[in-house]
Symmetry: C2
Subunit: 361 residues, 2 copies
């Protein structure tokens, strides 16, 4: 396995990614934002959402379904909220700029919640919730996505994996950063199992007839060809195991993102090939001063985190994790370099060659 | 089964419950609020959270761990937020009054989020999120609870079943009312299986050694005697099935309720017998006018609800439900009368007799 991963310098990778986007007409500053979001995922060990996705963004821009120049419109603004139209631009840029504005407004008015339509895939949800952390604020980030998830008692995928991220600052401990797909697993996990020739647990997905299956290849093929079946919500296929709750959370994200912005939801996200995807997000920043204040909240956070970490462990387990902890540890490992899967490395090389760009990694 | 349930007039049940609380020193208006919250649960088919709990509230007041007279203090107030101290009063009254204030503030300033400490068990979370619906607003309600849930890789119960409720108005369709414990199931479900002598699925709970078990009696005994083990978060014991996500949501609720209010969290909720429980809540009201407005949002909601309900069904299923739908149908069945389990009926009779009150049901 080890030789299948190639370590590259983060600074070099950043330069390459920026060069690719600039070549495609993305303004330099925006290209820097996209590169930072993608590489942050690789650094945090979420390689499925990192530069591995470069090809999809490149294709999106080339096919005209993503606008290289992101033009954001503030459709509505109150002291504590925003309705944003992303103009079909780059999801990372839309979300980054909106979160910047949310942070500014939350500093002035304690809270800002933003619903965003007409955007694109924005990378890891946690990037934007964590932007708030740097300012001592609480961050919220959600997005709808391509329909891959079946509702409880349904046969076909009509909802996205719709992730939820919430970040809360601590004092001496690492912050709490929840960043979870509302499906049991995201599609990338099935791809990994498929690559390894492994069967998947029955709580992950259903076949084209709507029956839980252990065959990842079959599910991936069905999703690609829209033949029915798909990923199961958190909790699986049955109410008995709480599947209706995962479904309810996926729907919640679609409501906050697509419904509140009058954007798109369900099967209308990525509804037509060659047309803008109309991905919708929901972002929020909340000042701790709206509640008991940063000093108390961050010290309470230390306390609850320590209570959890010091709790008795299950047999064979030596550690209870806080959400975000594993990713922070990865990030601290990957300060100068980041590992790329060899196929991803090759793919970036090819993208550069196609665009006539020098490839130095 | 049928004869085990006794139908009673809602108006009579309301009078009895109000009389009981008045006798214990609860002001008449407050007694009416508590009765309405409890009976709403019975009407909606959530009998575990209905008048079946009357005994616990009666004992709480008698033992002095719940204050009959609820004195609420607004510790902090901004235009869009509140920090509330419930003074150890009745949870329903604390939450009802706070939500009333949230609604008023959301009407004026678009959003109001409230974190509440030093309260008690408040009944069904959905009651308060639905208060916002009546005003054409979006409602949020969460609460921490007695430690019954184990964190992923933990052995003992250190978090509550910490429910999340979010309510969003629709136009012609019924509103979306998510109201879910963040554990796979609440404790009441184990009690039902135990009564019926049935085994429970392995995703529900662990034994005193932290191993998933199918024996509900063992889990209930362990929880009562704090011998270890407990309920599993939504997603079960393993990361493979997403258990860390349910755990993350339970933690989220504890942070918003206990940490943001500097109240209590984890094992400090119901931390000492005979002492105030220090249950903490989080409530919110958001005006649709913060986003694209009620007219558009409620009609978008009709659209997404119909998309889901019309989606193809899994084999053997003829209906896809929206969250809250089953409960609304029950509520519409139970307009004049509500069914009480015979043991609950007997228990209320006994409570009245102990207090020297006339029992007419």
């Amino acid at each position: 396995m080890a030789e299948e991963w190639i370590k590259v310098k983060i600074a070099d990778l950043f330069d390459v990614v920026v060069k690719v986007f600039k070549e495609l007409g993305v303004p330099e500053e925006d290209a820097g934002i996209i590169a930072d979001v993608l590489i942050a995922a690789d650094r945090r060990g979420i390689s499925s959402h990192g530069v591995a996705r470069l090809r999809r963004y490149v294709n999106g821009i080339k096919q005209g379904v993503m606008m290289a120049k992101t033009e954001i419109t503030y459709v509505k603004e109150t002291p504590v909220s925003l309705v944003v139209d992303g103009g079909g631009g780059m999801g990372q840029v839309v979300a980054y700029r909106t979160m910047e504005k949310c942070i500014k407004k939350a500093r002035e008015n304690f809270i800002c919640l933003a619903t965003i339509r007409n955007s694109n895939h924005y990378g890891i949800a946690g990037y934007y919730s964590m932007m708030a952390l740097k300012e001592g604020l609480i961050g919220i980030s959600m997005t709808n996505a391509a329909p891959l998830v079946i509702p409880t008692f349904g046969k076909d995928a009509v909802l996205g994996t719709n992730p939820i991220s919430v970040a809360v600052p601590a004092k001496e401990e690492r912050p709490y950063v929840l960043d979870m797909a509302t499906s049991t697993v995201p599609r990338g996990k099935l791809e990994v199992y498929n690559r390894m020739g492994k069967k998947i647990p029955l709580m992950w997905a259903t076949d084209e007839n709507g029956i839980p299956t252990d065959d990842p290849a079959r599910v991936l093929k069905n999703l690609l060809e829209r033949r029915g079946g798909g990923l199961l919500p958190l909790g699986g296929a049955e109410e008995l195991t709480g599947g209706h709750k995962g479904y309810g959370l996926a729907l919640l994200v679609d409501i906050f993102s697509g419904v509140f912005s009058s954007g798109a939801w369900g099967t209308d996200v990525y509804g037509k090939k060659g047309q803008p995807a109309n991905v919708c997000h929901f972002l929020g920043a909340i000042s701790p001063e709206a509640f008991v204040g940063l000093e108390e909240i961050s010290s309470n956070m230390d306390n609850i985190i320590r209570m959890l970490k010091n709790a008795p462990k299950a047999p064979g387990k030596d550690r209870i994790y806080i959400h975000g902890e594993k990713e922070f540890e990865k990030e601290e490992e990957n300060t100068e370099e980041v590992p790329l899967y060899y196929k991803v490395y090759q793919d970036i090389k090819e993208i550069c060659s196609d665009l006539g760009l020098e490839f130095k990694l």
